[in-house]
């Protein structure tokens, strides 16, 4: 290998071959395995501790939830609300944004339901009825006659030939009671309506098409739905249209973030360009930067495509961090050239800053490497973007810049080229380190890892109002859910039955307000077996009963056959259509050879109790998305901080190896001060040590250390100016993210802003001319 100092150890063609190969491989990968750009809000959330099978079922349910939306039309006059709802329904139906849309689909077809009950009555007896029968079958038979001759039965008597003990009466009442708990809405004049405190609500339920859910698609249906709602509110001034569903939140959140990021990026770029022009009096540095950025972003995108199939739009947005590193390398190369002898060529410039660039590159890559060990998909994507992009920037600076940078690119009259007086400051770094340490020590009682996922997203005024209306109309505010798996459909139902029995106990204690589960309507085979056994206790009284009611011999035989069962079970497939439509969203069915069901739990106050029940059972995963994700992020943050500690140790060793003991340790004081100072100030301002702050810390230590390296390795004012320019551009490109209203981006931006500020202060404080 040729010497770096010779300036000819590499060929630019060889360098260009690298991105070309990368792009080609990415292109092939795109053809073989097309990528999926994820924009969902929930997909940002890390996967919880669970098996891949269970995670697949949770994702399936989340997808269904993402597609499922409810719209509520409300007002004080039912007829007006109904007319508005019908108008909105018509518009929505024409829009093509939905795979399925219903205004009254949940209406109960009583005859269809009763036919299903009648056909399967011997399999469907609840435990109370079973006990009554078994404890005194003779009394039960008499009671059934009394019920038949009573004034009114809830069920029909038309099935007496098959059900002479009128067992369908109890099953029917039980079923109607359960159906009633599913929703507060009931069919009324062709719509689903409910009235709460004098306000009428009409509900429109829909399943969004994939195309309309896509936030990146030009045909995104979400905005059209909002527009239609606003139009209806214009036509009917006394009604309000509310929107409920994750898809609406994802849309508002993602489009808001994209819009905001565009504004912030444009403003940052304009300010950076202005600064370049003022300081350099030409835009040559900009060409260097654009060259580096183009190759860097291209390489990063290609690497992302190579390693990931599902790419989150947020990873791409975070990829803008490459702007910072590309600018840094361009600035250091240009300023070094500007401060050098006009006869120095690009290779001379590289000789001067080569070691700094390499050291800075290594230390920053070490910090990014930490992210690669994360179990958080988005974080790994960010790590790949940053590692590959930074590597590309480094190669551009080391291989291409020496061939591009010439004396003619420098305006010798500019601020950048002008020799400036060195700033003489006392050696402040130890004092800064001490101040940061005291600040952190004072904050220790308030310090701790805490990720509150609910605080990361603030719904817009419209969505907040909408969810309040939805909670009022539906009668519940908070739902958690459990996913239950099994080897067969019945295996899942058996587990679900046990789980729901435990939930019943909690409900009796007032610790939850009910649940929705398929097992409410389809008992597992073990319960159906018990039901038949109980019914069999009535067989000794069958002859008398049939004589009184006039049931013939043929029907009598059929009854005996049905009670004996002959292997016929009531299954999910046996559910009548009107019930099936209610359980479709929670019955996940077969996924990769296993079966899954979901139990939706309403207003649970004792989530830890439910969690304990789930943990006692196999294949039951209780999901409290916000709480679980917070706990998961806590673990992840802790893990990152530990890895970060290791990375810090490695950086110290590298510093000592390169600069010697005294200088190396002194330089290591800088990242320590940056870390402690940033954490101290942010905690003092009321923030918690959370995941997004930790990501910011990784970045500031990587970038902040660069300032120290350049300041220590460069020559006087040359490095000072470069570091100053670098500091300003980093604050403009990253620190500006602190203005984002999207909470994760805001925390990240604020951390970088404060950290880079401290890093710059440390660099000045460590410079002793």
């Amino acid at each position: 290998m040729k010497s770096l100092r010779s300036g000819r150890f590499e060929s630019p063609l060889a360098f260009l071959l690298l991105p070309v190969l990368l792009f080609a491989a990415a292109a092939v990968m795109l053809i073989v395995r097309p990528i999926h750009l994820s924009t969902s809000f929930t997909s940002m959330i890390p996967q919880l501790d669970m098996s891949d099978d269970m995670a697949g079922a949770v994702n399936e349910f989340t997808e269904r939830q993402n597609a499922s939306v409810n719209l509520f039309v409300s007002g004080t006059d039912f007829n007006t609300v109904r007319s508005a709802a019908l108008g909105l329904y018509g518009k929505l139906e024409e829009s093509g944004a939905f795979d399925d849309l219903s205004l009254d689909s949940s209406s109960i077809d009583a005859n269809q339901l009763f036919a299903s009950v009648s056909d399967n009555v011997y399999n469907l007896l609840d435990s109370g009825t079973r006990e009554r029968i078994v404890s005194d079958p003779a009394a039960f038979a008499d009671d059934s006659l009394a019920a038949i001759f009573s004034a009114f039965t809830v069920s029909s008597l038309s099935n007496l030939d098959n059900d002479p003990f009128l067992l369908s009466e109890t099953v029917w009442i039980d079923l109607l009671g359960k159906v009633g708990t599913l929703t507060t809405f009931s069919p009324r004049e062709g719509v689903l309506a409910t009235e709460v405190d004098g306000v009428w609500y009409v509900m429109i339920q829909g399943t969004l098409s994939e195309k309309s859910r896509s936030l990146t698609s030009r045909d995104s249906g979400m905005q059209r739905i909002f527009d239609m709602g606003e139009k209806i509110e214009g036509e009917f001034p006394d009604v309000e249209v509310s929107y409920s569903g994750l898809a609406f939140h994802s849309y508002e959140s993602a489009t808001g973030a994209q819009r905001e990021m565009t504004v912030i990026s444009v403003v940052s770029v304009v300010l950076i360009l202005l600064m370049f022009f003022l300081l350099c009096r030409n835009f040559h540095i900009l060409w260097l930067f654009l060259l580096s950025l183009t190759i860097s972003v291209g390489s990063a995108a290609a690497a992302l495509v190579l390693f990931f199939r599902d790419i989150h739009v947020l990873s791409m947005i975070f990829g803008t961090s490459l702007i910072g590193t590309c600018i840094d390398y361009s600035i250091h190369s240009y300023i070094c050239a500007a401060q050098s002898d006009p006869d120095d060529n690009g290779f001379c410039i590289r000789r001067k800053i080569g070691r700094s660039l390499t050291l800075s590159f290594i230390s920053t890559e070490i910090c990014y490497l930490v992210l690669l060990f994360s179990s958080y998909g988005i974080l790994r994507q960010m790590a790949v973007i940053s590692l590959s992009g930074l590597f590309s920037s480094y190669l551009t600076a080391m291989v291409l810049y020496p061939r591009i940078i010439t004396g003619r690119m420098i305006n010798r009259q500019s601020f950048a080229a002008r020799p400036s007086k060195s700033l003489r400051l006392p050696f402040l770094l130890p004092w800064l380190a001490m101040a940061a340490t005291i600040l952190v020590l004072v904050q220790i009682p308030r310090m701790g890892i805490a990720n509150n996922i609910t605080s990361l997203y603030t719904p817009s005024e419209r969505m907040f109002r909408s969810e309040t209306v939805a909670a009022q109309a539906l009668g519940y505010q908070d739902t958690t859910y459990a996913v239950i798996g099994g080897t067969s459909q019945n295996d899942v139902l058996e587990r679900e039955y046990l789980f729901c029995s435990r939930l019943d106990e909690l409900e009796e204690e007032g610790l939850l307000e009910g649940y929705i589960a398929t097992v409410m309507f389809v008992p597992p085979q073990s319960q159906q077996e018990l039901s038949r056994k109980a019914a069999a206790s009535l067989l000794p009284y069958l002859d008398d009963q049939c004589d009184i009611l006039g049931v013939d011999e043929e029907h009598k035989k059929s009854i005996i056959d049905k009670i004996s069962g002959n292997g016929s079970w009531f299954t999910i497939g046996s559910l009548p259509e009107s019930l099936r439509s209610m359980t479709d969203s929670i019955s996940l069915g077969g996924i990769d050879g296993k079966y899954y069901e979901v139990v939706i739990i309403r207003n649970a106050s004792d989530t830890s109790g439910i969690s304990a029940i789930a943990s006692e059972m196999d294949n039951v995963q209780y999901m409290m998305t916000a709480k679980d994700t917070g706990a998961q992020l806590d673990k992840l943050t802790g893990m990152m901080l530990r890895l970060f500690g290791i990375a810090f140790g490695v950086i110290v060793i590298v510093m000592v190896a390169v600069f010697g003991w005294r200088r190396g340790l002194r330089m290591s004081l800088a990242p320590y001060t940056i870390l402690t100072g940033t954490v101290g100030i942010l905690v003092l301002s009321g923030l918690s040590l959370d995941f997004f702050m930790t990501v910011g810390l990784v970045l500031i230590v990587g970038l902040g250390l660069d300032y120290m390296v350049f300041a220590s390795s460069g020559k006087g004012s040359a490095s000072g100016k470069a570091v100053m320019l670098s500091f300003v551009t980093t604050e403009l490109s990253f620190g500006s993210l602190a203005f984002s209203s999207f909470r994760p981006v805001h925390i990240f931006g604020l951390t970088v802003f404060v950290g880079i500020l401290i890093a710059y202060a440390c660099t000045i404080g460590a410079s002793r001319e």
Binding site: D104, S107, I108, D109, A110, N111, F114, A139, D142, D143, L145, A146, A147, I148, F149, S150, A151, F152, V154, S156, L157, S158, L160, D161, I173, L176, G177, V179, G180, T181, T184, S186, P187, R188, E189, G190, L549, G550
Partner: protein, 209 residues
């Protein structure tokens, strides 16, 4: 032209069938219907009933007798005495059933939209609340001067899914009520000895079962 001719022919053929039914649609909220409303004394009353249940596709019927009690603000209670004793109370959002000497079954039906529709329907029928009746049913009248018959066809989809129609008959007083279910089953209640009076605390105690 041909289509219009066919339509006119259909109407001409249909008219005798409709007329044979003997009912004409009537708006109970407009006009003088005092000869019907007069049959209902309003408030609370008690009496006797004879109930005949018929099952579709079968010639058998189930006949029972007992006392009925309509308590304004509470609901309707049937005390079936023969052939098997039972008590059934249908309130606006509660169903109470007591069979023989067993424990009463108390069902909270407030969350059951189908049940509440039935209860509201029965209440408006027994109290002759024409306003609610017109909101809930399409109403048809048939009268021969001394007796009247009121046929109610539910507008609500939830109710019409199990109840095809309800027929009330009477002269000076309310005499019978027939529920025609969509399955073809029927329940006919024939009332006698109806007495309009305040109910005693003892009689109202059934609602506390």
């Amino acid at each position: 032209m041909r289509k219009i001719t066919v339509l006119i022919l259909i109407l001409i053929v249909s008219f005798p069938v409709f007329a044979a039914d003997g009912y004409t649609e009537a708006d109970l909220t407009a006009g003088d219907w005092s000869f019907i409303s007069g049959a209902f004394d309003g408030g609370s009353y008690t009496g006797s009933f004879r109930q005949t249940k018929t099952v579709s596709g079968s010639t058998r019927s189930f006949v029972s007798t007992g006392r009925i009690q309509i308590a304004s603000g509470y609901g309707i209670v049937w005390y079936t005495e023969k052939p098997y004793a039972s008590i059934l109370a249908v309130g606006k959002d509660v169903l109470i059933q007591k069979i023989r000497d067993g424990q009463p079954t108390h069902l909270d039906m407030a969350q059951n939209p189908v049940y509440t529709q039935i209860a509201t329907t029965l209440e408006c029928v027994f109290c002759a609340d024409f306003s609610v009746m017109s909101d809930t049913f399409r109403t048809y009248i048939s009268t021969d001067g001394t007796t009247w018959s009121l046929k109610l066809i539910p507008k609500n989809k939830a109710v019409s899914s199990f109840m095809e129609s309800m027929v009330l008959t009477g002269s000076d007083s309310f005499e019978s009520l027939t529920l025609n279910e969509t399955t073809g089953d029927t329940i006919k209640y024939e009332f006698s000895d109806m007495e309009n009076r305040e109910l005693t605390d003892e009689e109202l105690a059934v609602w506390s079962l």
